[in-house]
Each structure stands twice: as C-alpha cells, then as structure tokens.
Symmetry: C2
Subunit: 336 residues, 2 copies
C-alpha cells in the first residue's frame, strides 16, 4: 500500500528513481534530437506535444511520453501537452551529440556488458555498435569539440599551402571545409571505410569540389606510398590517433607518416585522451561513457602524458599542445 521507491529523497538528493529516469531520458534526448524536437525547443523555447506529433506524423501518446521522460529529469517542464524548456535544456542541447553517441550509437555495446566483460568472450567481433548512428553523432562532436581550436591552429599555419590530406577522413567533411576556406587548395581524404568514401565523393561532387578532391581507400595504420602524398603540405588526423597505440606502434606509425608525407609543414593531430584524476562524481558528460566504452571494446586510450612521451622519437616536432578538454581530454597537437 506504500510507494516503495521515491525519487528526490535520501542522503544523495536523487535516489534510484533519478538514475532510472535519467536512463530513459537519455534515449528521449536522442529521439527528440532526431525527430526535430530539440531544434524546435531551442528556437521556440516551447511547443505543444500533440501539435508537434501531428505535424511530424508521430504517435501522439509516445511523443507525449518522450517529453515526459525529458520532464522527469527537468530538461523541460510539462503542463499537459505544453512543453517548456528549463535552464538545463540549453546544457543538454549543447551536449546532445554525446548522448547520441552513447544511447543510440553504442547502446548495444553497453547492453551486452555482462558478456563483453568476460575474458573468454573478448575475441573476434565480440561487440556491436550502430556505425551510422556513431557517424551522425561524431560529426557534431567533432564540430563542437574541435572546430574552434582546429581553425585557430590552421590560422597559425597561414596560407601558401596547396595540398591538404586528412587521415581517417570519414565522409570528408574536414577536407571540404578546408578547401572552402582556402581557395585554390586541393584535398586528399584517406579512410578505410569505402561506404564513407562513397558519401564523401558524392558530397564533394554536390559541392562542386570534385575536381579539387581525391578520396582514397587505405588503412592509415598500414599506409603504402603513393605519389599524391609527396605534395601534401598540411596533414590532419582527427578522432583516430588512439588507434595508433600502444606506444611502440604509435612511434612506428608517426615515423612512417613522416616518411610518406615528406613535404608536410604542419600535422594537426586531434583526439580524445584518457582523463586522469577526475573524481568519479565529477565526471563531465561523455568521459565515463567514452572511457568505459573503449575499455569494453579493448581499445587502448592514451593519456596526454602518453602522447607527450612519443613525439621526440617519432620524427615530428611538437610545436604546441592545445588542450580542449571539453568532455574527455580532447587535445590538438600541432606537429612540424
């Protein structure tokens, strides 16, 4: 006859219910982003759930349930079908891509944690993620985390270069952004995933950049010489540097890149690094999910200190370390 579980009580000010409702809300944040509700709330600060559902062809009850999930953790406030943003909304809106990476892109990895933890299962393709959803999230993560610092680093190179190459280029966004900003330059994108390269070539064609771009399929960790590489003056590589590791491999890969790209004046290497010393209860958005996710996948994630220990053996000079640390120790190294 009594309610056994209640939120907002107890020593910790939240209780199990807040944790539970947050897990539901994390999915609701992803869904609200994809169906356009976060954008509309960001712009209009208010919407009517029924009207929104009707306009977007969504189930009325489920849509109201999605907003109720957001309201349960005060991302919005709800009065019947009226949904109004809170101050917390803006923080969640800024961080939406990190939620998406976790709850849409990586959910199956975390869901299968019991079997993924077991040593005996950690062989072969022992986990699944949603590659398309990860790519969707990473496009915004990249823009939110790295772009301001990236363009500042590009400004320090100045103009006067003709060819840029991006390693692990995905669907080619960075290459095309650079070409748009620096008229007369040409760009090379290298990636192991042919589907991403197909998207890149199509988007380059649509943007009128087909004649200035080349997208090549190759494994950055085992790159073979190509004549095109000899002309590259600016090299970029984002969100894949941790794949160079462990240390011995990282030194070898960096040396190899120095040889394969002899004309490079500046190498901008941006990635997340494993955080050090953050108390468990003060972990910012993304860090916990990103680091546990990579541990579950068995991916080595170097610290900033790990990185600093490899450059002097690598054939590159570290000119500057840009610590971004928006969420999970993001950094851009400027190498010459």
């Amino acid at each position: 006859m009594t309610r056994g579980v209640s939120p907002g009580t107890g020593e910790f000010g939240h209780g199990a219910a807040f944790i539970y409702n947050s897990a539901v809300a994390a999915w609701a944040i992803c869904a609200a982003w994809e169906v356009g509700a976060l954008e509309e709330l960001n712009t209009s600060r208010k919407l009517d759930s029924d009207e929104f559902a009707l306009r977007h062809g969504l189930d009325r009850l489920s849509t109201l349930g999605m907003f109720r999930a957001l309201a349960s953790v005060e991302v919005v406030r709800r009065h019947d079908t009226t949904v109004i943003v809170t101050d917390l909304f803006d923080e969640v809106y800024r961080n939406k891509s990190f939620f998406h990476w976790l709850s849409r892109g990586s959910a199956e990895l975390f869901r299968q944690m019991p079997s993924v933890l077991a040593e005996e299962n950690r062989v072969g393709d022992y986990y699944r993620r949603d590659a398309a959803a990860i790519a969707f999230a990473c496009r915004e993560i990249s823009a939110v985390c790295y772009d301001p610092t990236f363009w500042a680093a590009m400004d320090r190179i100045g103009t006067g270069f003709e060819v840029v190459a991006d390693l692990g280029c995905g669907s080619g966004g960075r290459v095309m952004d650079v070409l748009r900003r620096y008229p007369g330059t040409r760009g090379i994108g290298v990636d192991i995933a042919e589907p991403s390269l197909l998207v890149a070539r199509q988007e380059a064609a649509d943007a009128g950049l087909a004649g200035r771009t080349e997208f090549l399929r190759a494994d950055v960790l085992d790159l073979q010489p190509r004549p095109e590489y000899a002309e590259v003056e600016v090299l970029t590589c984002f969100m894949m540097g941790h794949d160079f590791w462990p240390k011995e491999n990282c030194v070898a890969t960096l040396r190899r890149l120095r040889e394969l790209f002899p004309a490079v004046r500046r190498f901008l290497l941006g990635d997340a690094t494993r955080t050090v010393g953050i108390p468990d209860t003060e972990l910012p958005v993304f860090t916990l999910g990103f680091e546990l996710g990579h541990d579950l996948m068995g991916t080595f994630m170097p610290t900033l200190e790990d990185w600093h220990s490899v450059f002097d053996q690598s054939g590159w000079d570290l000119l500057r370390t840009n610590r971004i640390e928006m969420a999970v120790g993001e950094v851009i190294f400027e190498l010459g």
Copy 2:
C-alpha cells in the same frame, strides 16, 4: 581550455552530466547484477575490483570501469580498486530488476525511439526487445512486487481447494510455488509460448511435481474449452491482464473465463496499471520506462479506474482491490 560541462552544478543540482552518467550507470547496474557483483556487495558491502575480475574471469579495466560508472552516481564509492557500498546501494539493489527490464531487456525498443515514434513505421513487428532478458527481470519483478500481496490473498481463500490454474504461466513458477505451499493440490499452467512451457515441464519434473502439474499451450485471449478447466477452483493471472484490453475485449475475455472455469471460487488478477497524477519529477523507478515502453509498443495500459469499470459487466464480483503501487500502479484484484 575550460571544461565546458560540469556536473553537480546549476539550478537543478545535477546537470546534464548526472543524466549522462546515470544512463551509463543503468547499464552498469544490470551488468553488475549478472556477473554477481551486486550480490557480493549486498553481502560483503565491499570488494576489490581487480580481485573480483580475476575470480570471475573478467577484463580488469572494464570491470573497474563498471564500478566507476556505479560510483559516478554514488551507488558505490571507489578508492582505486576498492569498492564500498553507499546508502543508495540498497535502494538500487532492491530495484535492480526494474533497471534490467529497461536497460537489458528493452534497450533496443528505446534506442529505436526515433523510428518507433513515426506513425508510418508502427505496423507489423516494428520493434525488438530481448525476450530472455525480459523474462529474467520479470521473475524478480514478480517476486518483489506481487508475492507478499499474492500470498495474503491466497490466505484469504483458505485451504480446501484442489486445482489451481495460472493463465500466462510462463515457466510455471507461480503454479509450482502454490503446489509446494498447498500439499495435495494440482496445478494447470496455460501459456502461448512453447519454449517457456518446456522449461516449466522440466522444472516441474526436477522438483518432483510432474504428476501434479499440466502445462498447456493456449492463447489466453482466445481460450477454447477443455475438460481440465471444469475442475479449477482457484484461478490466477499475473502481468498480462492489460493484454485483455481495450474495454470491449476485456469484458468479453473476463466473461469467457467465467464460462470456461465454472468451478472457480476465487480469481486473483494481478497487473500493473497506468498511473494517474504523479508529477513528472516524482515518478518512481519503473513507471516512466514501463509506461513509455508500452506506448512505444502501442499496448493499451488500463488505469485502476478502467479496471473498476469492467468487473460488473464481466460476470465476476470484485471482492477486494489490493493496491500495491510499488512502482507502476501494481494491483491484485480478488474476484469471486
């Protein structure tokens, strides 16, 4: 250079990071339960992560990451590899089956919310859940939520009955529990899922109850007469009553059960009901996930008032309503 996002700050006392880390922690709660860590912490109040990982054949770093996720929302405290329970641990431990239902059993449904929301997609088998994980969670949910109230209701029937039948019996736990408690009785289990019935028959054999039980495959919503049904004096049905709805169907199903089981003296009907009037920020564990989950699946979920509106047309007398309301309006109706 600044950390853009920090938890524990702002008007709401938690912030986006707490929501994010809670989503990771919800998966960690499920995993910690399945690998035995919750049981060990519940008993010993403390463990060493490395020692635990070694003893259970688990990856050391990932196991530490799992405990770090629990620590991020203060379910435990962590000093290096030492993990110590908090007061919140006990609340989470009691509610672990609800977390499991959500983050292990129903994760794919919630993950696919963007497409599940769209009216045009809501046809056929438009969502997926993990049936085995749901069954694992529901066994404990049933015990935690319903058992004390169920046995009190059984006590009110008294002894003197010979045959009990459970509709939607799953793997037969309730039938066998009743037979153990009431020597000399016989039990019939009815379920639509043959795999569950196979488990039930095996467990009955293992428990020496094969001669006293019969497990029949049938659709409770379209039940056909069988001679065995005429002898049943106590009828039970748990966690499937919402499938009887909408109202017209529910009245018809209840009337049909009255005809098919003419000797029944007492019908104990237990299920969750849709809650009414709980403010969004005070939703207890399970309610939000359960109700949004059923909205996403398009399953009608009656309120207590809805149920009270059908009994007088159904051929059954409502003798007593036991409101349990542990999480999501659980109730057991005693019908005669």
